[in-house]
Amino acid sequence: MVIDVQIASLFTAVALIIIGIFAAAFLDNLIKKVIGLAFIGDGVNLFLIAMGYKPGGIVYIYLPGMAAEWFSQNAAYPLPFAMVLTSIVIGASTMAVMLGIIIVLYKKRGSLSAKEILGE
């Protein structure tokens, strides 16, 4: 049985989000928490990409000679891809700040335990 690529991607995205929330909520190591948070962001990005996927679609660049109707029926929808690019940049900067804070806290406390540092 061949699984539809889009459906498989959507399920993977949901799985990533659930694993990420679990890691962020229940793991004690701060680095593992951050990895879990990255999973959540990646899951949402994959969800967006899966939404923009079009089986057999073409790149959304309108070239001379293309019939407008053919192009509109075959080109993938570009908006989700543009959004994902922005989302990746935001996710990277958020993660950089979080890891920076964790480095400072590790130097101060000598631990990466969320229970010890954040009192959870």
């Binding site: 989000i17 929330i21 962020a24 701060l30 928490k33 948070l37 959540i40 962001g41 899951g43 949402v44 969800f47 967006l48 939404m51 407008a68 109707e69 509109s72 929808y77 908006l79 989700p80 959004m83 922005t86 989302s87 935001i90 996710g91 900067s93 958020t94 700040v97 979080m98 804070i101 964790i102 400072v104 806290l105 101060k108 540092i117 954040l118 009192g119």
Partner: protein, 501 residues
């Protein structure tokens, strides 16, 4: 096209970058930051109402030259009216919100520059960047653009806390970021679902699709999108269950930073609340979700403020409680109620900043924020004590100050809408707010000075006194002449009551 509309966002971003470049050049930073900050409230006053399309890409319907050359496949459908570019909408309500945000920003920057011996370019950078992000959140008609600036505002908030150098700031900032890294992607997921159903991220276009039957409004995916966007709204504005971390964030920032961060929370609350009302008001439970979250914020925020011994934490919880009043106005769903709620938002942004900077004078002089260790500050600075007292009166809704007018309007609106119980709860919680404030005021200003309390700074900077006097003047003017604000807010409130607008 009015170029001042994008400049309201671009100018603070450029100011932020410029101040960061001047890091360690203290005197230059001081002069330039004040001059640049003056632009913040000035730009919304000078700008004309209208729309700004980034890149100049107006909807096809507004561009006949282009649309005449396109096939009817495009021009004959709804695509003709859709917005291809990120659109900023500047109307009367945005004018007053951006002006108040700019004013709070100006006074917070002004105070911070004179309360620190070595003004930090990085601190200025964070403040300006946060103001730019919130201005964009208020102006944008594109929900993904809103998400981007929502994240920038969260990073600027964390930056302000990190630069503040208050004990425990790193731990609180990390907690805030961990929660934000769950809430913000879920908000993005809500936006993705909206995009999946409607094919759009422009809010006006999404509403057009729902109103004209291009999309089935009863699609269950839209319910899920609504839930996820509401979750992002709760996080961004610090409503329960995020009220504890939000008040902790206020307490770990310098008073000037806390004054600005609370304004971020208020305007995030308003901007996302308006979007929820615009898109999802056709869902019968949306009104109850807003009312329920707001009621919970009011009760939890104000009751938790009573037991606080840290001044900044107490004001933080009071600020969360006051957000509830705004939400009650929005949730009532009537034009009068929404006007009252938006007026309360304007008042709260000013009053809470007034209180943070007012009580901040005590922190400046003593370096102590625990009310159990404070006392006798009235004798040290009677003028500041009077100003702080008036700020507390304003928050509790004592006439003739501004929150009296907005809270009275909210009570009238709740009675008119058939919810007199809400009016009773609001009156009772205003009394509790007054008691909480007076307890803290007594502990800090009226009680005899403890022997072990030392003054680290004898004199108050004149800039702080000037900032407090400006806040008081605004409170009195808005209290005596509420129509100065409400006339700007009524058009938006009226449009929101028409269901899908």
């Amino acid at each position: 096209m009015n170029l001042l509309i994008p400049l309201m966002v671009i100018v603070p971003i450029l100011c932020a970058l410029f101040l960061n470049l001047l890091h360690k050049k203290d005197r230059t930073i001081k002069t330039i930051a004040i001059v640049l900050a003056l632009l913040l409230p000035a730009l919304p006053i000078l700008a004309n109402y209208g729309l700004h399309y980034f890149g100049g890409y107006a909807p096809l319907i507004e561009n006949p030259t282009l649309s005449n050359n396109l096939p009817s496949l495009i021009t004959g459908t709804a695509l003709n009216t859709f917005h291809p570019a990120i659109t900023y909408s500047f109307q009367s309500a945005q004018k007053i919100f951006v002006f108040i945000l700019g004013l709070v920003g100006l006074l917070a920057i002004f105070t911070s520059l004179y309360e620190t011996r070595r003004p930090s370019g990085v601190y200025g950078y964070m403040m300006f960047m946060g103001i730019a992000a919130l201005t964009a959140i208020l102006l944008t008609d594109d929900i993904f653009n809103l998400y981007v600036f929502f994240e920038i505002a969260a990073l600027a908030t964390v930056g302000i806390v990190l630069v503040s150098n208050v004990k425990g700031n790193y731990e609180t900032a990390l907690k805030y970021m961990i929660l934000g890294s769950i809430a913000a992607p879920l908000l993005l997921l809500g936006i993705a679902l909206l995009l999946g159903v409607t094919g759009n991220v422009n809010i006006t276009d999404i509403i057009y699709s729902l109103k004209n039957g291009l999309v089935n409004p009863q699609n269950p995916v839209l319910l899920m999108a609504c839930g996820l966007i509401v979750f992002g709204w709760l996080y961004g504005s610090g409503l329960p269950p995020f009220h504890t971390i939000k008040s902790a964030i206020y307490s770990k920032a310098l008073p000037s930073g806390a004054a600005l961060i609370q304004a971020f929370s208020v305007f995030t609350f308003v901007a996302l609340g308006i979007i929820i009302l615009r898109i999802f008001s056709y869902l019968p439970f949306s009104q109850w979700v807003i009312l329920g979250a707001s009621l919970l914020a009011m009760i939890l925020g104000i009751t938790m403020a009573i037991v606080q011994t840290d001044i900044k934490r107490m004001i933080g919880f009071l600020a969360v409680g006051e957000l509830g009043y705004i939400g009650i106005g929005l949730g009532l769903g009537t034009a009068f109620g929404i006007t009252a709620g938006l007026f309360q938002a304007v008042n709260e942004a000013i009053i809470t900043a007034f209180l943070f900077i007012g009580f901040g004078t005590v922190l400046y002089q003593t370096r102590v924020s625990d009310t159990r260790k404070l006392g006798g500050m009235m004798a040290r600075n009677p003028l500041v004590a009077l100003l702080v007292l008036l700020a507390g009166f304003a928050m509790a809704g004592v006439p003739p100050l501004n929150a009296f007018q907005s809270k009275l309007m909210l009570i009238q609106a709740s009675i008119n809408a058939g919810f007199p119980e809400l009016g009773v709860i609001m009156i009772l919680l205003s009394i509790v707010t007054f008691m909480t404030f007076m307890k803290a005021f007594h502990a800090v200003f009226l009680r005899p000075k403890p022997a072990e309390l030392e003054l680290k700074n004898e004199d108050m900077p004149k800039a702080t006194i000037i900032a407090l006097l400006v806040f008081l003047a605004v409170c009195i003017v808005f209290g005596l002449f509420p129509q100065v604000v409400t006339t700007y807010l009524q058009p938006l409130a009226t449009s929101l009551t028409g269901g899908i607008v």
